[in-house]
């Protein structure tokens, strides 16, 4: 799974994890979603929901989204629909400005990390990975 992320904690945690390629970009949440759409246009299929988590898009800065490692034969219209809808939701929330304090960046990163970890766990459960360390989320208990 290719994980597009703007969350440094995800890079740190999964950069050498088998079967996961972390593509870290230091961009805004909106920009990250647009990058994901570019990948979808280039025939990658979404593997995780772009609106993961209940922290609303205007209350966080971080997002990690899983896509197929390789492009597929055809453009996945469902993925395209989902990412388009998600971008429009993110933009809709962005109209309500919320101040996100520096001291909460770590917490927001942690929450995003656990959300993508739960997807990586699902991936690992579906395809056992040789020599995989124990489940992602169980190792996240302390920051």
């Amino acid at each position: 799974m290719k994980v597009l992320t703007n969350n440094p904690k995800v890079l740190e945690q999964f950069h050498s994890y088998p079967a996961v390629t972390v593509d870290y970009r230091a961009v805004s949440l909106h920009e990250l979603m647009v990058l994901v759409r570019d990948f979808v246009h280039a025939r990658h299929r979404l593997l995780t929901h772009p609106l993961s988590g209940s922290v609303k898009p205007n209350e966080t800065l971080y997002k990690s989204i899983g896509l197929t490692e390789q492009p597929e034969d055809q453009l996945c219209l469902e993925s395209l629909n989902l990412i388009e809808q998600s971008i429009s939701t993110v933009d809709r929330f962005a109209r309500i400005r919320k101040d996100i304090k520096e001291e909460h960046h770590q917490d927001l990163q942690l929450v995003d990390l656990t959300l993508i970890s739960s997807a990586i766990d699902s991936l690992a459960a579906a395809k056992p990975l040789p020599g995989t360390p124990p489940s992602g989320s169980s190792r996240l208990s302390s920051t």
Binding site: H49, G53, S54, T114
Partner: protein, 426 residues
Amino acid sequence: MRLELGYIHITDIRFGDASKVEDGVLYVNAEEVEALVLRDERITSVKVDMARPGESVRITPVKDVIEPRVKVEGPGGMFPGVISPVDTVGSGKTHVLKGAAVVTTGTIVGFQEGILDMSGVGADYTPFSKTNNLVLVIIPRKGLGSHEHEHAVREAGLKTAVYLGELARELTPDSTEVFETLPLTEGVKQFPDLPRVGYVQMLQSQGLLHDTYVYGVDAKRILPTLMSPTEVMDGAIISGNCVSACDKNPTYVHQNNPIVHDLFARHGKDLNFAAMIITNENVYLADKIRSSDWTSNLCAFLSLDGVIISEEGFGNPDTDLMMNCRKITDKGIKTVVITDEYAGQDGASQSLADAHESADALVTGGNANQVVTLPRMDKIIGSEEYVGIIAGGWDQNKHEDGTITVEIQAITGATSEVGFAHLSAR
């Protein structure tokens, strides 16, 4: 399964030398509660406080709300697989301290937990302004990780609720209510002419602060499965969900699941409440497809005529909601879905992140972006420090006169997606 709930009506809560219930008053020995909570070495200190309906009190940030109950007859104990050993619950007799609740507060991550006002306009939006609340303000050991912190606070609340519930064991209930569902074939024979109705409950299951546990199992890891609706009344489902105060289901709401209760109210009269199915809302898209396939197949296996589907959360779960609704409808089963809305502060935006035409019968818990100004409260339990940053709050929302302006998504239980509240929108 047949479960009798015996209600002991609680009209007041007070500190006392001995914890007991007398004439509808719940007396609590604070030292005993403290000692119980501090048995967990992850917790450094706990402050035990109280809040009664109508008082000028604000509790924030609220993590969970739990109803004190005790199992007096039948297998198992309260919160099986978590506090009591794993055993199937939902039959026999259970006593309930109706009108009392345990409220936990704790800043697990520096944002996101709810506001609970006992009076004023905010009280209209939360169902827990009507309960007599024992509040635990929990301070964890320094350096404790977020997962462990959440776990410690969750357990402290449940243990305290069990401790209070025990006080009801020997009491004679003020009123009782019986809930019974029969096994499949017997149920069909019992009400051959009534439509067979099921309840599909979607459980929040996305990760830290977004988890729900079923008999102690993380709901992320379940396949959709069948339950007797009475099992939830004995605490088979508990909340580990701290994000989105307005539409998460606190443990109290699982124990008192209003859809279960309102379906039982018509059971044998207008419908045959045949089954409850629980499913999840995972981040991984393949999980969603599998879970919604499985859920719709279960509905078809059970020959259901109609299904109510409830959601928990916004965004990612909207996709699960629409998948479930579409696939169940495709089986020829009539559906009603319950959700809430994020239509912007002006109400002019699209309400949901996903939509499908099969969701043509929808009940809403209201627009969570609606802005409300809450009055100054004489007493704050917990800390208002986080009001500016919890979901639905923003920095300029504290005014000089002590009032605060928030979106109602900051208020615990305001837009319940299992229909526990009265709020709606048009």
